[in-house]
């Protein structure tokens, strides 16, 4: 049995509306820019130097995960992420590997991946077979603090309506296994293959949620909350709601901006309580999600509350206008203004990667530039342009 006791399912209250992120990153080699497998050496080296946050292994040896601390708003989060990034980049340079953002590596072959040797990851390989290696995709998780479990359940249901926003704003996995997938975010198709992916059941309170969880545990389907690969899930031990649909953006600046958007939206939801949870959100969920994955900001979704058809670009811009006062209250105003400018111009990580491919002509070079951009070196030829997501 896992160490998960009843106590750990108790919702640890956290200071409302704080924010923190986990970012999964690619470790790539400096030779042909394919994925490398130096996670253990990299983490070992980083551990030797003092740094904020934490750096952890992920399921394959080509991945590393950064965790931020808990933050009141965008600015402190962004500056901490930059410090962690610089620490990681410095360690990577000593090992001659590179670190890249983006939701997928453009051309690695999943069969070449090796599972990071811990008991949990080995168990996942034996359970999920090849899916475990295909899970070498890179996402960002945003945690929003909640005072209690009931609030967390409410927030989860309302945020579900905005899942397409999160996908379109972060989409940066147009290439997989050496091909243009035609998707803005192809990463989520890989997640969908897991049997415990999807959404939280339509429960109304923490106690009702616990009943569901105990039932699933009784069947032996899950051992802990970790086993649910839902798009949004409550995380009782942290006292947060965790949004997991983001592709890892190309820069840490964009990572912080996405966290600011989520946090401002959560403040709007929990302060104004604009909607009640509705089943139709989940009826339309997969269609809207697909639109966001496939077309990014150009995707057309159906709003479950108004039955209106609207493009994601319009819907996000409208939402940004609505949450402006909340963003201002959290000190996130500037970050969201930049985000709005990108959405207005139709810029996304996916469109940028496709542009790099058109310019350079090889996916090896896409991976190289992808890592240059994340490591803060930028593209030499493009240095003069305004920073983009």
């Amino acid at each position: 049995m896992s160490g998960m006791s009843g106590d750990e399912l108790e919702f640890t209250p956290s200071k409302g509306l704080t924010v923190g992120v986990e970012i999964e990153l690619q470790i790539i080699n400096s030779r042909d820019y394919d994925l490398a497998r130096d996670a253990a050496d990299l983490i070992g080296l980083i551990e030797k130097a003092p740094h904020p946050g934490a750096v952890k292994p992920e399921i394959t040896e080509s991945m590393v995960e950064l965790n931020s601390s808990i933050h009141p708003g965008h600015d402190s989060l962004a500056s901490e992420l930059k410090v962690i990034r610089d620490t990681v980049v410095q360690a990577a340079s000593r090992l001659n590997v590179r670190i890249a953002g983006g939701g997928s590596h453009p051309f690695h072959t999943w069969a070449d991946r090796r599972i990071y040797p811990t008991e949990r990851f080995r168990h996942l390989l034996s359970l999920y077979g090849y899916l475990a290696k295909q899970f070498t995709i890179f996402g960002q998780h945003v945690h929003v603090g909640c005072p209690d479990g009931d609030v967390a359940i409410y927030l989860t249901h309302i945020l579900s309506r905005y899942v397409p926003h999160f996908i379109a704003l972060s989409a940066s996995s147009p290439f997989q296994q050496g091909e243009d997938t035609s998707y803005a975010s192809s990463r989520l198709n890989t997640v969908s293959a897991f049997p415990l992916s999807g959404q939280i059941p339509f429960v109304h309170s923490w106690s009702e949620f616990l009943e569901y969880f105990e039932k699933m545990r009784g069947y032996g389907i899950v051992e802990s909350m970790k086993d649910f690969y839902w798009d949004i899930r409550p995380k009782p031990e942290y006292g947060t709601v965790e949004i997991r649909v983001f592709d890892t953006p190309l820069t840490v600046e964009h990572s912080a901006a996405l966290a600011a958007y989520t946090q401002s939206l959560a403040r709007y939801i929990l302060t104004d309580r604009p909607f009640a949870p509705q089943r139709d959100v989940y009826t339309l969920y997969n269609y809207n999600r697909f639109q966001a994955c496939r077309y990014g900001l150009d995707g057309k979704i159906i709003d479950a509350y108004t039955q209106r058809h609207v493009t994601l670009k319009e819907d996000i811009l409208e939402t940004l206008a609505v949450i402006t006062p909340h963003a201002a209250a959290l000190g996130n105003g500037l970050a969201l203004a930049k985000l709005a400018a990108d959405v207005e111009a139709g810029r996304s990580g996916a469109s940028r990667l496709r542009e790099i491919f058109r310019e350079r002509g090889s996916l090896n070079d896409v991976a190289r530039v992808q890592s240059d951009v994340w490591m803060g070196a930028g593209e030499p030829a493009k240095a003069k342009e305004a920073p983009r997501p």
Binding site: N29, S30, R31, D32, A36, R37, D38, A40, D41, G44, L45, K48, A91, S93, R94, L95, N96, D112, R114, I115, P117, R122, R360, G361, S362, N364, D365, R368
Partner: protein, 399 residues
């Protein structure tokens, strides 16, 4: 009446020879892999031994000479690939890697020189034999890494250290050339200019070829299939030019690799996968180096050979172990790194190839000292690399 039938003895055919070497290698490699689970390279070398002077003598001196062209192409491919992996930026980011490379080279040279003179070898022979021992066999390390599909810090660092100690060994042997010339009463111009010509000329040739590679790659665009042919063309061209100009094939190709990687600031030259075509030539390379070995020499020079192997190993191990941890790699990495530098190849003698042609007597006496050590290391080396990379968890099926 029977004029349409071939006449015995058959005329020599390089094509037939190439096929024979390849076939012998493939069979030998597979047998060794299946029966003993050792690297295929060991099988290639054993196949060569069996076919060569120590075995059935099917591959006599003349045929070995005949096959030299294949060996040079193979070496060219290996050195180019190795040069591509020598990333100067890494040496700046991790100066301890460079320091490790210089220290282990220096200690290997020092230990070997002292050991050989202790055993009564004349200083000049001791120095040249020690310089040859500084180099780790690039072909063995690269091939075993490819066979195991190994990647990670031990693999990458071993390849970079191999590139470094190959350069050091080359510079040392070239400098020692002056001494040899002096010994044989050559004129002062030869003593001074020959090393300069070898070093400068080979570097210049590699540099020129790398400029062509960069310019043409930019023109061809980022297409792996086009750049593959380009790279192959330049490798073969550079080998041919180096031969023609009596330069060093090894240094020219290493320089081509290093320059084409490190001068390519706009990232126009793609890293193309040469392992497929390389494999064919590598098999032949090792069969031929096996055929060149003489078991008899091991019997006569066995004691000295063991001392040579031990001194070399001690120098490399102490060098690597004393500095590697400063690079911040995981504990245990240093030991495996030291082990992975064990291989030595008879082709190290190619470094003084020209000398042997100029002064046959010198070449013969030098071979007598070095070749029995080579025989031991040619067989143990691949096993050591395989052990190190597997133990470090960097081989493909480690988990």
């Amino acid at each position: 009446m029977t004029t349409f039938l071939p006449q015995y003895p058959f005329p020599p055919s390089p094509v037939l020879l190439f096929g024979l070497l390849l076939l012998a290698g493939v069979v030998g490699g597979e047998l060794v892999k299946r029966a003993l689970n050792l690297p295929r390279i060991v099988g290639y070398v054993l196949a060569g031994l069996l076919l060569g002077a120590s075995g059935f003598n099917l591959l006599d001196e003349e045929l070995v000479q005949e096959s030299w062209i294949f060996v040079e192409i193979a070496l060219g491919l290996v050195l180019f690939e190795l040069g591509r992996r020598l990333h100067l930026k890494w040496l700046r980011n991790d100066p301890w890697l460079l320091a490790t490379g210089l220290l282990e080279s220096a200690l290997a040279f020092g230990f070997l020189y002292v050991t050989l003179t202790y055993f009564g070898v004349q200083p000049i022979y001791a120095a040249v034999a020690a310089a040859i021992g500084v180099a780790t066999s690039p072909a063995v390390v690269l091939l075993v890494a490819q066979e195991l599909k190994a990647e990670g810090q031990v693999t990458e660092r071993a390849l970079n250290l191999t590139a470094l100690n190959s350069v050091v060994a080359f510079v040392l042997t070239t400098m020692l050339l002056s001494w040899i010339h002096h010994e044989y009463q050559a004129g002062w111009t030869t003593i001074v200019l020959h090393p300069v010509y070898l070093l400068g000329g080979s570097l210049a040739l590699g540099f020129a070829a790398s400029v062509v590679a960069i310019v043409l790659s930019r023109w061809l665009g980022q297409r792996a299939e086009r750049q593959f042919a380009l790279v192959l063309a330049l490798i073969v061209l550079t080998i041919g030019a180096a031969r023609m100009l009596d330069l060093s094939v090894l240094l020219a190709l290493l320089a081509l690799g290093v320059f084409s990687r490190n001068l390519d600031t706009r990232h126009d030259v793609m890293t193309v996968d040469l392992s497929g075509i390389g494999q064919i030539f590598y098999v032949v390379l090792f069969v031929v180096s096996g055929a060149k070995l003489h078991l008899v020499e091991l019997m006569t020079g066995g004691g000295l050979a063991l001392a040579y192997v031990a001194a070399r190993l001690a120098g490399k191990m102490i060098g690597v172990m004393s500095l590697s941890h400063l690079s911040g790699v995981r504990p245990g990495t240093a030991l495996m790194l030291g082990v992975a530098l064990t291989p030595m190849s008879g082709l190290a003698l190619a470094m003084v190839h020209g000398t042997a042609d100029l002064y046959p007597e010198f070449g013969a006496r030098l071979s007598a000292i070095v070749l029995s050590a080579v025989l031991i290391l040619e067989l143990i080396g691949p096993v050591a690399v395989q052990f190190a990379l597997k133990r470090a968890g960097e081989a493909k099926d480690a988990v």
